[in-house]
Symmetry: C2
């Protein structure tokens, strides 16, 4: 890469890529900005809307769809390497780019389609829930005779509880049927499990195969959406070791470059792989405020070929809680002084999104010595910020250990 | 403040200011960007050059001089509050603005002129070196008979060793005389002291007078320029307490709002005030990587009326070393993979400036358990990044305690 620097008379060879094109411009891209500035990395975002969180905070963004070949080509033209901050991408386009793409289209193929993901997990010999793909309504009805209680998932595009439907006692309600007709005909089915806990492990893999692992965290899901993340997970060293090993194995198996988040279930003392995300992930947001190097910085280091940073925790305990808006009117920005007033340790991250019911508009993290205490402070901040308070349910989930 | 948000049909009252106009666009402004994004604060920089560190990293900047009333008025027109990231401002302009200015013109008046600063320190009854102002060459020669060894300072505009001249044995060399003729006729003289150590305390004062204090740090100055900052300072609890008290007293005395850095000398076991800076300061750069809330975030919280964040250290020890370029050719961005390769704990901050001899182009921080170890790692990174290696001198300064 040749770039000018220092004046019109000097031309320099820059080792490694430093202009990164990011497909997508949501909060994940936005949270890369601080690290990019410090590392001398120039981020260029491809955003569908100039008000997207990263677009409004960056001096470099292009308007265009992630699935528009011309828009992606324009992004390629001004950058050295391409990465994604969401998975609603066109793998055909990415596979044919004349530039480095991290993670690669083939890695993304194992992640964006839940069927392909299950197949990759099985190929790696890793434990996962049972699953089957159905492609017609008839097959769905037959499957429900075998597995009366299932979670049905759209193979692509689902996140935060979208693209997800729980069916119990084999009863295909009108509501479920309507949902199927919208997202079908292909569907991934998994039997509903007695889940002891949900875990996530964020790993970062470099271009050279170097891997760093963040401490496994416990995630609290409500209505299929991540609400809170706590560390330490308190599930013992065997579970911890198994979770780390699985995450590292998956990262190598699919040749991830950058952040890979592996979501897992604990069922009957076993760790099962649930979902993968090949990008910075909600289960790693706490790393901004409670680890030496954040997941966002390590993602940028990985995709630009820089050595990876330490994942060590800076505090014995940390709790991250998402800010989910309850209506159109309560903007946490208006209330941020109240949220910050709860405790000087409250770390506030607003995404610059307008409030809408059930929209994730930010998160808070509190780190300290005692997990119970920091979790309580984080939820208190969520309430002070006028956001959805699900502390009792979250509390019940974490304490109802089998 | 009225602002629109969420769509054309909604208009909301935002409590507190959230569009901050920053006079200056150097690295201090640049390091505010990450915190601003997270807090939902929009930064608008007034920069003299579009390649200034903060200007190139921000979607909002205006080109113009800090001393140009029209440029400042344009900044005021698009923001809710004005702050500065350097002190080369026009106090007349700031005093007459129809908007909030933090710190105020009267606070800045006690800081930008060294004579006014000494007077404010004396008025507060705080210990400082002896000083006198001279205004003619004759007065200078007379003063040198009384104090043969002095440090002479230009009353305004000096930083990083500029605007500073050491005169020994009463000998006014041709070089010193030429310097005087350039910066004079007014000059601040102080006798050269036997300095045991240099300390700095960064405090942050809110609009309501709330004050938070970062742990005092030891600073290593070479040729009048800050090269390294280490914590803990190792100078004992009496010095520590005195340093904190002095910094808090000064902040209240001059009604600072935002960061106030107080640089101090330890002489014969006494703490003396040396310099003040009413903005984020080099002696607080480590807070980005070794405290719960950085000085940059707390500055923004203060000037926007938000509660201040915790200043607690996240590690027992931290060392910050400046990256000083040695020539025009060695760009630390080119070598950043080598610098990061030194240790996964190396925190790299590049300012996006072209290299020039003796130019500060970035800094590194390493935090950990043992100060000797993290300091050695930080200097190793400086060497790997091709920057000026003054480890032996820095080492000698820190260990030559009386």
């Amino acid at each position: 890469v040749i770039c000018s620097g220092g004046g019109p008379d000097t031309v320099r060879i820059v080792a490694g890529q430093y202009r990164v094109g990011v497909i997508g411009a949501g909060q994940l891209g936005q949270m890369m900005i601080g690290a990019a500035v410090a590392l001398g990395v120039e981020l260029h975002f491809l955003s569908e809307d100039p008000h997207d969180p990263a677009a409004q905070a960056s001096p470099h963004h292009l308007l265009g769809a992630a699935t528009d070949p011309d828009a992606v080509a324009a992004l390629v033209a001004r950058t050295d390497v391409i990465t994604c901050e969401h998975e609603l991408v066109d793998l055909q386009i990415l596979a044919q780019l004349p530039t480095a793409v991290h993670p690669s289209a083939s890695t993304l193929a194992s992640v964006v389609d839940k069927g392909a993901m299950r197949a990759a997990i099985a190929a790696a010999g890793l434990p996962a829930p049972k699953w089957q793909i159905i492609t017609t309504e008839d097959e769905l009805r037959r499957a429900l005779q075998q597995w009366p209680n299932v979670v049905a998932k759209a193979p692509q595009g689902g996140y935060d509880g979208r693209g997800l439907c729980f069916i119990r006692s084999g009863a295909l309600s009108d509501q479920a049927l309507n949902w199927y007709r919208q997202v079908g005909p292909e569907l991934l089915l998994e039997p509903l499990l007695e889940i002891t806990a949900e875990l996530a492990v964020v790993v970062v893999r470099g271009i050279d195969g170097e891997i760093v692992v963040y401490d496994p965290v416990r995630t609290v899901q409500i209505d299929g959406q991540c609400r809170a993340v706590v560390t330490p997970h308190g599930l013992g060293t065997n579970i911890d070791r198994a979770a780390r090993e699985i995450a590292v194995t998956v990262a190598h198996e699919i040749a991830a470059v950058g952040v890979l988040a592996v979501e897992m279930f604990v069922v009957d003392g076993q760790v099962l792989v649930n979902e993968l995300a090949a990008r910075p992930h909600n289960s790693g947001h706490h790393t901004l405020d409670s680890c030496v190097t954040s997941q966002f910085e390590n993602h940028l280091r990985a995709v630009t070929g820089l050595p990876l940073g330490s994942t060590l925790a800076t505090h014995p305990a940390a709790a991250m809680v998402n800010l989910i808006a309850v209506d159109d009117h309560t903007d946490p920005r208006i209330l941020r002084h109240r949220g910050l007033n709860v405790d000087p340790r409250v770390r506030l991250h607003l995404y610059g999104k307008a409030s809408r019911p059930q929209r994730k508009v930010g998160h808070v993290t509190v780190a300290g010595h005692d997990l119970t205490e920091v979790t309580a402070v984080a939820w208190q901040a969520v309430r002070a910020l006028g956001c959805d308070d699900r502390e009792p349910e979250a509390q019940r989930q974490v304490t109802n250990d089998h």
